[in-house]
């Protein structure tokens, strides 16, 4: 099953997900094949991509390769950006933004918990528009904290978050809901011996 065709498919999937340029050496190591095999499969992939019905393209220099859109479609990104950015915020994005503004810095998990829905897309959207900023949590690796951006506050005409209308009230409310696990210690201990618990 590990034919050269299959290797081309694997490389396409890998480049699709990775996004950034990737060295042949690293591809070979990751997929546990020789660099020659990778070079060959890339050649085959490049040929397939020239097909009229394909929208993707391989960009490469001597050692690295990246999957992008065909140069003909370069204007598409701009078109989409303009369309997306012209639109108003969706209710989900606005809700997420208000939580970050009134209670940031906050992790995505905390925002998800308060909203009761997953917020990844909203947060990415708000980040791209420069409305929120994120930085790695110094206490935990791999976790980001979200804050309202300085540009946003300036745009709204407030100097700092504390100047948001009714800041204290809403800030307190969100804070109260923030660390749910600590509140339920007593209840949890009661549950500890529940039957049917696996």
């Amino acid at each position: 099953m590990d034919s050269s065709k299959n290797l081309s498919a694997k490389i396409e999937a890998l480049l699709f997900i990775y996004g950034e340029p990737l060295s042949l050496q690293k591809i070979a190591k990751t997929l546990e094949v020789s660099e020659e095999a990778v070079a060959e499969a890339l050649q085959a992939l490049e040929t397939t991509l020239t097909g009229e019905d394909r929208g993707l393209f391989l960009v490469h220099d001597q050692e690295k390769v990246q999957l992008t859109t065909k140069p003909d479609f370069g204007a598409l990104l701009e078109t989409i950006m303009k369309e997306e950015l012209r639109e108003n915020l969706t209710p989900a994005a606005l809700e997420t933004l208000s939580i970050v503004a009134y209670a940031g810095p906050m992790t995505r998990a905390e925002i998800d918990y308060i909203r009761g829905v997953n917020s990844s897309f909203s947060l990415r959207n708000l980040s791209i528009r420069g409305l929120v900023e994120r930085y790695p949590d110094p206490k935990r690796g791999n976790v980001y904290l979200y804050n309202p951006s300085f540009d946003l506050l300036k745009f709204l005409g407030v100097a700092k978050v504390e100047d948001l209308p009714e800041f204290e009230r809403f800030h307190q409310l969100i804070e109260k809901l923030r660390h749910p696990e600590e509140k339920s210690v007593e209840e949890t201990s009661k549950e500890a011996n529940a039957p049917g618990t696996q």
Partner: protein, 245 residues
């Protein structure tokens, strides 16, 4: 999700438990087999009472229906209203639907464990982390305040709902307690005479109470032959006790 809520996620629901009991005895889903597992189900509900009071309400609803079914099987002379007949059928057909979906969840479980997964690119991935400032034209401070206020209203509305469930549970428990106390005072009683003029709910709770007291050996019961009236005594040595099968 609090740890408490997470714990609750580990419980099979009342239908799941009921199906488990029926399948353990390799029975079909019929009124007769439901009556047969009623005792086991009630024992399970009782064990939940002390450990997970907030999920017991759902179990009690099913327990009440089971007791109704069991009463009918033990006392065929018990007249059931049309509504009650329908309730019995409803439990049977719901259990059948539940069993079907159990098969569906086996499929999902398998796919979930398969490491078979598609991955996608983040929204506008090619932009990387280089963002600009593109505020929505009409965004105002009041939009943010309105959004957080709406959220606050929703969050507050969620709190009383949890409390309501607990209150309902307490009510049912209290009712049972009352009936149990009446039993302790009275001497020999006939189930038929006690249940004669009662509403459906009262009969159910009564039966539930009898089973509980029987199990705790507070009372003894006696039934001459199958389907005849049940006599209830306080504390006397066992004659022909009905086991809550």
């Amino acid at each position: 999700m609090t740890n408490y809520e997470v714990k609750l996620q580990q419980f099979a629901g009342p239908l799941g438990k009921l199906l488990e009991l029926i399948e353990a005895k390799q029975l079909e889903i019929t009124a007769i087999s439901l009556a047969e597992v009623t005792g086991d189900f009630l024992r399970y509900v009782k064990s939940l009472q002390t450990t997970a009071p907030s999920i017991i309400a759902d179990f009690l609803v099913v327990a009440a229906k089971l007791v109704l079914i069991k009463s009918k099987v033990l006392l065929p002379m018990l007249e059931l209203s049309k509504e009650e007949e329908e309730e019995i059928l409803d439990l049977e057909s719901r259990l059948k639907i539940y069993r079907e979906f159990k098969a569906a969840s086996e499929h999902i479980k398998q796919l979930w464990g398969k490491n078979w997964r598609s991955l996608s690119r983040p929204f506008l991935y090619s932009l990387g982390e280089h963002f600009f400032f593109y505020p929505p034209e009409h965004l105002k401070l009041s939009d943010l305040t309105r959004a957080i206020n709406d959220l606050a209203v929703t969050l507050k509305a969620l709190l009383p709902e949890e409390q309501k469930v607990r209150i309902a549970v307490v009510t049912i428990e209290q009712k049972m307690e009352e009936l149990l106390n009446r039993f302790k005072e009275a001497g020999r009683q006939s189930f038929q005479s006690m249940s004669g003029q009662k509403t459906r709910t009262e009969v159910i709770v009564l039966f539930l109470a009898i089973l509980h007291l029987l199990k705790d050996r507070v009372i003894q019961v006696e039934q001459g032959s199958q389907f005849s009236d049940i006599m209830i005594d306080k504390g006397a040595p066992p004659a022909t006790a009905i086991s809550n099968q």
